[in-house]
């Protein structure tokens, strides 16, 4: 032990090694913390089709730009230092240049690493993000006008966006056609956001995690479960009984009150008591 501390050459070596190690550790810590910060993708930056989930993507993409090069519409660009997107990774801003949803998906084919998943072969299956009609106050259709531009430009017209007719409360006598996005078909291409005629788009493509809510893992929709199982899962359905006048029936899970057409039978019995007791005869 003593020669470790007294031998000047060895001492100097140890000091130097410690200095280097702590310098490197500090730098590593800095870069590590910066990487945590850089992991949060700004909401207007959309990844190309087929991109893996963001935390896997930044580990898979080697920042070569081959996807950028093979995009025929110059949609994609590589992030530079200061863009707020992980340096060197590809993204696009829908309001500037949206994705044209090429049928042969050249960007995915160009990717050497699989950061853009080659399992994506049908561009309609892409989920780059999800369009959300963010501003109902300024969307022209919400005011009862027939703008419909987002609806018409959408490559999945009438599937990703449908127009839902509702009563126009403002005029009292017209209809409004509400553009309604369906996550079952929206690819997040951003053409609607690009096309929106407003100064600032009322419909915007957001990353999935911002656009969609998510049920708790344990939560189930009762009616769906019931349908799947072909019957109630908790207790046998109660047999509903109704004390109705003659010639009337009640359909609990369907049409409601039904008048039977049996040729104008008198609705009430001569004896008022038997009318009151109708339907209860079988009961003890």
């Amino acid at each position: 032990m003593s020669d470790t501390t007294t031998n000047p050459a060895r001492r100097r070596f140890l000091v130097d090694a410690a200095r280097t190690a702590s310098g490197v550790a500090l730098l590593g810590l800095g870069v590590g913390l910066y990487s945590r910060q850089a992991a949060s993708l700004p909401s207007q930056a959309i990844r190309p089709p087929g991109a893996l989930a963001e935390d896997s993507f930044t580990g898979a993409c080697i920042r070569c730009g081959l996807c950028v090069r093979d995009c025929p519409y110059d949609t994609l660009s590589l992030a530079t230092l200061g863009d707020g997107v992980a340096t060197g990774t590809p993204y696009f801003v829908a309001r500037d240049v949206p994705c044209e949803m090429c049928e042969d998906i050249p960007c995915v084919k160009a990717c050497p690493t699989g950061a853009l998943d080659p399992a994506l072969t049908d561009i309609d299956d892409a989920r780059m993000g999800l369009a959300v009609l963010i501003d109902e106050e300024n969307c022209l259709n919400f005011q009862g006008l027939r703008c419909d531009v987002c609806y018409r430009i959408c490559p999945s017209i009438n599937k990703a966006i449908t127009l839902e007719r509702q009563h126009n409360e403002r005029s009292g006598k017209h209809a409004v056609f509400i553009p309604t996005v369906h996550s079952s078909d929206c690819t997040g291409c951003g053409k609607c956001e690009k096309a929106c005629v407003l100064e600032e788009a009322a419909i915007k493509v957001l990353p999935m995690h911002l656009a969609k809510g998510e049920l708790g893992g344990h939560y189930r929709w009762g009616w769906k479960e019931k349908q799947k199982a072909g019957g109630s899962l908790v207790a046998p359905d109660q047999q509903h009984q109704y004390n109705l006048p003659q010639g009337q029936r009640y359909d609990y899970e369907g049409d409601g009150l039904i008048f039977e057409q049996d040729g104008g039978a008198v609705p009430f019995d001569e004896d008022p008591l038997s009318t009151l007791n109708k339907g209860l005869e079988a009961q003890p």
Binding site: A86, P112, A115
Partner: protein, 312 residues
């Protein structure tokens, strides 16, 4: 003390400027030609090479991928597709064969930045040395790989000035130039050859590929050495020359075997005595010891020159 002549002046006087800058010119040509190939596409629409040095496709058939970046990706737990793996194996094989740090001197665009900083440093006579260990780069290499493992992302690639410079030139620089400037200032002010010679983990990675590389600088003519020190003055990795040049009496062969030699060939250029040549790594026997039959162990070097200790 009399101001020394600039290194290489003697060689220029004897062999002419062109011959004394032969390898330097070849190197600059190589660096710029590679960059031009990448830029011909975006600038002039001539698509010979697409992508950047991290991964590229040449003439739509040849994939090339930087094994260091791909290794980070592997450690971040991503299994890459075949294209990237093939590309990385080709590059790996090439540098294993040729010597890894050939990349540093002949391909990497940062070399032009650090060489310029070094040139200016000499011109302005900036000396102050910081006690930066040349092994720092291996620590940094380890740290970058560890970061990929811990964070699951290519954390180092967020700030790596080497990939950032080349990608920036081809795809747009953003604020990336600040990091390149930082490297320039580091080499200009902080220490001689601070970045490429001490810190760069990319160079460290490629040096590990170079331990068995075949293309080597040889000092076969070392008996001609007149201790002018010019090779030491120009060499970016000064420590690598000494064993080959001065090791005759220790039984050390004439081949520069250190994987940190960048194969820049500057020592060949500046030596007026034509001591150095490019050659292979084989046939590295010591045949020119001044004491025939001398044991190959340590003894005071016969032609010890005072400057060399200082310049280590």
């Amino acid at each position: 003390m009399k101001r020394r002549q600039r290194p290489g002046a003697q060689a220029v006087a004897e062999r002419g400027w062109l011959s004394a800058h032969k390898w330097l010119l070849a190197r600059r040509f190589s660096q710029l030609a590679i960059l031009a190939l990448f830029l011909a596409g975006p600038w002039f629409g001539i698509w010979i090479v697409k992508g950047n040095l991290v991964s590229s496709v040449t003439l739509d058939v040849l994939p090339l991928t930087d094994p260091y970046v791909l290794l980070q990706s592997l450690l971040a737990r991503h299994a890459p597709e075949a294209a990237a793996v093939t590309g990385a194996l080709i590059v790996l094989a090439f540098y294993l064969l040729v010597s890894g740090r050939t990349y540093c001197a002949w391909v990497c665009p940062v070399n032009i930045v650090t060489d310029s900083a070094h040139w200016l440093r000499e011109r302005l006579n900036i000396t102050g040395a910081s006690r930066l260990s040349r092994n720092t780069r291996y620590w940094l290499l380890g740290a970058t790989l560890l970061l990929a493992l811990i964070t699951g992302t290519l954390a180092w690639e967020l700030v790596n000035p080497v990939t950032m410079l080349q990608r920036g030139l081809i795809f747009g620089m953003g604020l990336g130039w600040t990091l390149v400037l930082a490297v320039f200032l580091l080499d200009l002010l902080v220490a001689r050859r601070a970045w490429c010679g001490h810190l760069c983990p990319v160079g460290a990675f490629y040096s590990l590929l170079g331990t068995h590389g075949l293309v080597r600088v040889r000092a076969d003519n070392r008996r001609q050495c007149d201790d002018c020190m010019d090779c030491f003055m120009v060499c970016p990795e000064q420590q690598v020359i000494r064993p080959a040049l001065k090791g005759a009496d220790k039984g050390i062969g004439p081949v520069i075997t250190s994987p940190n030699c960048t194969n820049c060939g500057r020592c060949i250029d500046v030596c007026a005595k034509q001591v150095f040549t490019f050659g292979g790594r084989f046939n590295n026997r010591c045949t020119d010891s001044t004491q025939p039959g001398a044991p190959a162990d340590a003894r005071a070097p016969a032609n010890h020159s005072p400057g060399m200790e200082v310049l280590r």
